[in-house]
Amino acid sequence: MRQVLNIFRKDTRQYWIEIALSVVIAIAFVLMYPSQWKVTHDQNADQHALWFTALLILLLITSWWLLIARVILAESLVGDRQFWLTRPYEWKSLLAAKATFLAVWIGVPYLVTQAYLLAEAGFHPLSYVPGLLYGLRCVFLVFVLPVFCVAAVTSNFGRLVLAMLGCFVLFTGFMFLAFGLPHGYMTSTPYPNALLYPLLFAGCAVALTVQYATRRTWLTRGLLMGLSVLLALTVFVYRMQSLVDRAYPQPSAGSAAPLIIRSIPTVAHPVEARTWDKEDYIDLPVQYSGVADGTAVFGDDMKFTITAADGSRWSSPWQAMQERILPGSQYAEIHMMISPEIYDRFKQRPVTLQVTFAVRRYQSDTVTRVPFPMHETAIAGLGICAWKYEGPAILNCRAALHETALMHVAVQWSTANCTELRTLANTIAETDDWIEPYGPEFSLVSVWDRSMMFGYGAGDARGRVCEGNPMTVTQYHLVNRTQSDMTLTNIQLPVEVHPT
């Protein structure tokens, strides 16, 4: 322990400038960030504040990386000329001292600034301690531990920067391959990647232990490369087609279909074929219905099976769909991607087309009716909300630590001025917006900030949302994931394929 403290004190004395820089940036960030939710009614000023806070986030992460690099390389583990190699350093103490340094000078300022941000946003920080610690854990896993590992296998700052750039290029390349290539066989991710964080933590912990205990740099580098490959594999595995089938099982016999899907080609909306980026796309106009009141259905993926009269058949993999389907009738268009060679085989003759949809079904929970807030008001499920801009009215809500659940927010608007008495006669219609969780498990910032936009027509028909207009907030919960089918028999696919 004595050695840990001695090394920690030395590092703190030696790198106080880097520490101060990182703390100052963190403070600047938490002072600037609340401007995102503060009502200014000045979109330009807000835009500038947004850019500035984004820049501060980048600077904050860079300052952390600089701090990590400096402190780990102070006792570099690579090379044979460092003074400390022949001093009575215990490797466990050295590792503990470095970890303590990062916890104290990155972790504690992070916790303090995020607690301050929560308080500034109107949430009591002590009520969110587990969430703050969870955020801290994620920050360390994503931003600290990987850089710690790279610093532990590089000999100096220049090489570390090069290694980081190399990692960045590889990561970008991988992300481009995994997500960026324009192909339609991308599915939504049915499961959160449960392996990613445990694997990252375990892999980094093993690599750091091996490196600090043995300084076998090539072995550690090998371990880290293996870890990168494993992490990449989990990303691919979690996007595998078979997972969609597992996540969205066929509905059991007798259970009600979550929705009804009909194909409705008309003269105005015919089935069309187009080509784009070496693939053909068949655009099918459809009508969704049968979604029960109080429920909502989200179409995540779909797959197609074409069967010709002679028995020849083609089945597509799952393709992304991303459609929100609500009660009532809803018209939409679905896009089947197919390679031109395969399409040529089927387009000349009548075929049977079966479309299978992978959908999530949501049930509304609580419905809250509140007056539309002009000033900051706490709304159950949404957080603290306030009207932000006129024109296309924007309602800005902020929540602590976690995103809100799936929400539907509807507001009535009227033709009356806000100073006039609003009656049913001048209440024109209801406009709505949805809040869907993005999906990421954590954010660098403890306050989640979401905006809803309500449109009002234009010109003379332009309406207004005024303080006190009725607003309905409906919270949904996930009921199940399932599949739903639509079969079109004896249809003729378009022969002409137009360029997009």
């Binding site: 050695q3 001695n6 030395k10 102070a74 009575p88």
Partner: protein, 313 residues
């Protein structure tokens, strides 16, 4: 008594390059052992193997009773290591470095530290990166001697230092000598001749010899044989006779296994018409030069033989 350092067939290869080949040596406790050899002989590698900075390819080394690969942590509170090319914590002041080092060593002697600081006249508040090479080396010495190590290992500690600084450092070392074992490497024979008790000679990764200085000095003699008439050197001279040459009636060589009268008798028996045999003690420098030159000649001859063999094949 167990040697403080002992190696057994210690070998180190970097890829296909053999830097050290089957080194065997023993450094007794209390010795001042000088490892000498030309640049590139493998001295630094040898020391890094002993200090567990590098790992041997084959063979083993024991230091203070431990296998070299076990050297880590607490055991370094009994070992001082100073190297000419060591990376020091440059951003620290001398005071900062000494304060930082102190808690690592249970036997740190504050009085000795103060004495060393005074002796070396160290500028305490100056950062190491702003110190001259000599001052930096003095600071390294101060931080390495203040805890009264059982073993002091120095890799070319005096290279590039002015004579005054060198003498100061040597003096500080000799003051510690009674309570410690010193192992140092150097390519400058003159600087170690005055105080080393043992010496090992390393060339091209091979230990040509390793023994006590007194024994070495006793073993080598420059022999001058005066003959009645000029003679051609025979090819089958004993292998212990190095650098044999003849000028008119005089034959000169270095005897590397000199054993007094016995050796002189051997000389008389070898040549006809010997008028006089003079055997002079040699300075260390001459001994090393003789060994080095002989080693190189033998290497060249071996290489030539190998080339000839390949050509014929």
């Amino acid at each position: 008594m167990n040697p403080t350092i002992q190696t057994h067939n210690l070998t180190k290869r970097f890829g296909h390059t053999e830097v050290l080949r089957e080194i065997n040596l023993a450094v007794p406790e209390g010795a001042i052992y000088a490892l000498v050899g030309p640049n590139g002989a493998g001295k630094t590698t040898m020391i890094k193997l002993l200090m567990n900075i590098l790992r041997p390819t084959a063979g083993s080394a024991r230091v203070l009773g431990l296998e070299s690969h076990e050297l880590a942590g607490e055991v370094f509170s009994r070992i001082a290591y100073v190297s000419e090319n060591q990376e020091m914590p440059e951003a620290m002041t001398v005071t900062g470095m000494l304060e930082y080092m102190r808690p690592f060593y249970p036997r740190w002697d504050r009085e000795l530290e103060r004495q060393l600081v005074r002796q070396f006249d160290l500028p305490m508040e100056r950062k190491l990166k702003h110190l001259s090479r000599g001052m930096k080396m003095k600071a390294a010495f101060a931080s390495s001697l203040a805890y009264r190590p059982k073993l002091i290992v120095l890799d070319e500690p005096f290279t590039g230092l002015d004579p005054l600084v060198r003498d100061e450092l040597i003096e500080s070392l000799l003051e510690r000598a009674p309570e410690t074992t010193i192992f140092l490497s150097s390519h400058d024979l003159a600087e170690i001749e005055s105080f080393a008790s043992h010496v090992g000679y390393l060339e091209e990764g091979r230990m040509l010899f390793s023994e006590e200085m007194a024994v070495l000095a006793e073993r080598f003699r420059e022999v001058t044989v005066t003959l009645a008439s000029p003679v051609k050197l025979p090819h089958d001279l004993p292998s212990a006779w190095l650098q044999a040459e003849t000028v008119d009636c005089v034959v000169r060589f270095v005897h590397s296994e000199y054993r007094g009268e016995m050796s002189e008798r051997e000389v008389v028996e070898r040549f006809a018409g010997v008028r006089d045999v003079a055997c002079e003690a040699m300075p260390l420098r001459s001994i090393f030069l003789a060994i080095a030159k002989t080693g190189r000649m033998q290497n060249h001859a071996a290489q030539r033989t190998a080339v000839d063999g390949r050509t014929q094949a």
